[in-house]
């Protein structure tokens, strides 16, 4: 008798773990790492939810998913309904369940989490979405009455996809333009197969197509058509710029153009979008690395390091100028990278790259850092330790430092106001810009951020576009000085 409550207590304190591939095995293949919950595991985990009356988790979700409601449906074994409930707010549940930083969002606010593990909301979301797809019972909601309005969305990443699905469900005609040959944006070129299988992205994009969104690939807006042409000649009533930031940043140190130095964007694009890990079955090559250094500590850095391992690298270093506590990546990604054998070289900064005399990368010279006073970000500022330079032998280097604003589209929009860093100035709640009928959101407004924040922006913009198409009201004087 005495053991019962204790058992009960332990059960509520600890979440059901998703089974995953063993680190040693998975570090050499591109298959997805976690296997996902079985129905039994999902029900067990869902049972930990307290079904709060005023659920704080929902406030932590940028797209306002009805979290306790879908978890209750899972608890009751009503898995398909659970998925449909999520999809009322979120068109990409299988993606979000996998790549959202839940620990800083919904799960961070979970009441259960105050005394133990928060409810694994992300894992449950993933389960519901995968269950629906597996059962093949993807429900296409009834088409709403057509409004006769047309909206152009530039970019088919998470922001564009979310906005497109919301707008099509409002009865507008929606065209989504994608510059690459495949839709999905960062979900396709950036996030690797083992973290987000591409069949899942295809499935989610397929769903949005079935809703009626027209997807036009190979369309580089700014070159093929300008925004003004879309608005004035092609009959679009509004336009949403969701292109992402786009231009990779480099370290700005000598030797950065040696062969073997890749931007994380290039390294990941070759591997993910172009499937260079399957070379020569696929035509795009990628350097089969021996020793690799990745610079940075965000999700993109973790992805690059783990892709390098899977391409057969014997050593992968992750070089970061601060300490582990300051790493911006998701906890799960840091944990996975470590488990798989990525070596963290902390409090270290690269100084210059060295070559073999023929322009091929041979080594990187680094310097040790120590943490000084906090800087404007509130994190302690790393300062170089004089005389601590040392060399690391590497043949591939991957700066993963984020992105700048891509000028390709923006320079064709002289009447669009940009901030000092070249990003579009847009009102946070609506995405309205200085140009009438043009909305913007995601990384091209905020700078490099996350999938879910871009989706949140897509949702807000969809709401604002609905309002604009109804009232044709445009007033941005409150946040853009004339």
């Amino acid at each position: 008798m005495g053991t019962e409550p204790e058992k009960q207590d332990k059960k509520t304190k600890t979440r059901v773990r998703m089974k995953e591939q063993e680190p040693a095995e998975r570090a050499r293949n591109f298959r997805e790492v976690p296997f996902g919950y079985t129905p039994e595991e999902a029900v067990e985990e869902a049972s930990r939810c307290l079904s709060c009356k005023n659920p704080p988790c929902r406030e932590g979700c940028p797209v306002e998913v009805e979290i306790p409601q879908f978890i209750r449906l899972i608890k009751e074994g009503n898995f398909l309904e659970a998925c449909y409930t999520i999809k009322q707010k979120n068109a990409l549940p299988a993606v979000c369940g996998r790549v959202c930083p839940q620990e800083n969002q919904c799960e961070a606010r979970c009441i259960v989490g105050k005394k133990g593990d928060p409810v694994a909301i992300g894992n449950l979301e993933r389960f519901a979405a995968d269950y629906e797809a597996e059962k093949g019972e993807v429900r296409i909601p009834e088409k709403p009455r057509a409004t006769g309005r047309k909206v152009a969305i530039i970019g088919s990443g998470p922001g564009g996809l979310t906005c497109a699905s919301d707008l099509i469900m409002s009865g507008h005609e929606v065209t989504m333009f994608e510059a690459l040959h495949k839709p999905g944006g960062v979900l396709v070129y950036g996030i690797p197969e083992f973290r987000l299988p591409k069949v899942i992205v295809e499935r989610e994009v397929g769903y949005i197509r079935k809703l009626g969104v027209e997807v036009v690939t190979n369309a580089v807006i700014g070159r093929l058509f300008t925004v003004d042409e879309l608005l004035n000649e092609k009959g679009y009533d509004a336009c949403f710029i969701a292109t992402g930031a786009g231009l990779p940043m480099f370290l700005g140190i000598p030797g950065e153009n040696f062969n073997g130095v890749y931007s994380a964007n290039e390294f990941l694009t070759r591997a993910n979008l172009m499937k260079a890990y399957l070379f020569p079955e696929y035509d795009t090559p990628i350097k089969r690395p021996g020793r690799v250094a990745v610079f940075g500590a965000g999700n993109v850095a973790m992805d690059s390091a783990r892709v390098a391992l899977r391409l057969g690298a014997e050593k992968v270093y992750l070089v970061y100028r601060r300490s582990e506590a300051e790493m911006p990546a998701r906890k799960a990604e840091i944990h996975h990278a470590k488990e798989e054998g990525v070596e963290f070289v902390l409090l270290t900064n690269p100084v210059r790259f060295l070559d073999d005399g023929n322009g091929n990368l041979r080594a990187v010279e680094c310097i040790r850092m120590e943490l000084g006073e906090p800087d404007e970000s509130g994190r302690r500022r790393p300062v170089p330790v004089e005389g601590s330079e040392f060399e690391m032998e590497i043949d591939v280097a991957i700066p993963a430092l984020g992105a700048k604003a891509n000028p390709l589209l923006l320079k064709t929009l002289p009447d669009l106001r940009l901030n000092r860093r070249g990003y579009i100035i847009a009102e946070e709640e609506t995405g309205m810009t200085s140009k009438r009928g043009v909305f913007a959101g995601g990384d091209i407004v905020t700078g490099a951020a996350t999938v879910i924040l871009a989706m949140g922006a897509g949702k807000k913009v969809a709401r604002a576009i609905n309002g604009y198409l109804k009232w044709k009201y445009w007033d941005v004087s409150g946040f853009i000085e004339q």
Binding site: A179, L180, H181, Y189, T217, N218, V220, R223, L224, F225, G246, L247, P248, F250, E256, N257, N259, Y262, S263, N265, E266, T269, R270, M274, K275, F279, P280, E281, Y282, D283, T284, P285, K287, N358, G359, N360, N406, P407, L408
Partner: protein
């Protein structure tokens, strides 16, 4: 999907395609390029736009068969489809009436020089053109270039057609004779552009080159096409492909072009083996 409307073998290993691409043709300008991908497993490669017909909605590209992708491309015929064509990419060539200009095209580089020479001629320039190749069977578009030039000089390394010389020889003669030449445009192999720039530097004549670095997306997203111009890193796809030749680090460009030599060889061998050749 983009249909090949016309195919023409221009020389031993240089092929012309006219592609049905209405929207791209409408916007194409001299100096632009496209990125194409033949099929699902294919790589994305940049190719120059050699001509465009806005009315018919067609795009002309000319390519040299060097590796797997270009050889495969060369096996396609009229009526076949190319999976993806993206463009027009790159900044338009700067066209105005400069006065006297020289257009230099080497090898397959003759193709992209043609629309630039035509535009310069149309803008009122006196256009000298020099086109060169290793040997006669690699030369093409002599007639077309003659139409848009006030004076055309043809060179081959072995003297099988035109003058036995490399392009820099007649170029230097022109620069000596016409001290009022305002601009030289050079498109061809990196090594040719490098020596054209060395030649024109002596005469202090502004020289624009069109760089052909390795690319993937062609829209600024990957940075694989990095070149150094005046000591600064530039992206060939969105900052170029036209650059001030006197500031370009050609040695770096050539080293970077060699990055995947081994892989390119592997892919090509495998392709030939699959053909049973």
């Amino acid at each position: 999907m983009f249909e090949i409307l016309k195919k023409q073998e221009l020389s031993e290993n240089i092929t012309l395609f006219e592609i049905d691409a209405k929207d791209i043709a409408k916007k194409a300008e001299p100096g632009n390029f496209i990125v194409l991908r033949i099929h699902e497993e294919g790589e994305r490669i940049p190719l120059t736009i050699a001509d465009f017909d806005r009315e018919r909605g067609t795009l002309t590209t000319v390519f040299q068969k060097v590796g797997k992708t270009t050889h495969h491309l060369g096996t396609l015929n009229e009526g076949d489809f190319i999976s993806d064509v993206i463009g027009p990419l790159g900044i338009n060539s700067h066209i105005e009436n400069f006065g006297k200009v020289v257009c230099v095209g080497g090898g397959v580089g003759i193709a992209p020089v043609y629309p630039i020479a035509r535009a310069l001629k149309h803008a009122g320039n006196h256009v000298f053109s020099i086109i060169g190749a290793r040997t006669k069977s690699l030369l093409f578009w002599e007639d077309r270039m003659r139409q848009v030039s006030d004076e055309l000089i043809v060179t081959t390394d072995d003297g099988s057609c035109g003058r036995k010389a490399v392009v820099t020889i007649p170029l230097e003669e022109l620069l000596k004779e016409h001290t009022d030449i305002k601009l030289v445009i050079a498109i061809g192999p990196a090594i040719m552009m490098k020596f054209v720039c060395k030649t024109t530097e002596k005469y202090n004549v502004k020289t624009v080159v069109s760089l052909n670095s390795i690319m993937i997306d062609g829209t600024g997203m990957c940075g694989g096409c990095r070149v150094e111009v005046g000591g600064e890193t530039k992206f060939c796809c969105v900052d170029g492909p036209d650059f001030d030749g006197h500031k370009v680090d050609f040695d770096l460009l050539m080293e970077r072009q060699k990055m995947y030599l081994d892989e390119e060889r592997t892919a090509f061998e495998r392709y030939k083996a699959a053909l049973g050749g």
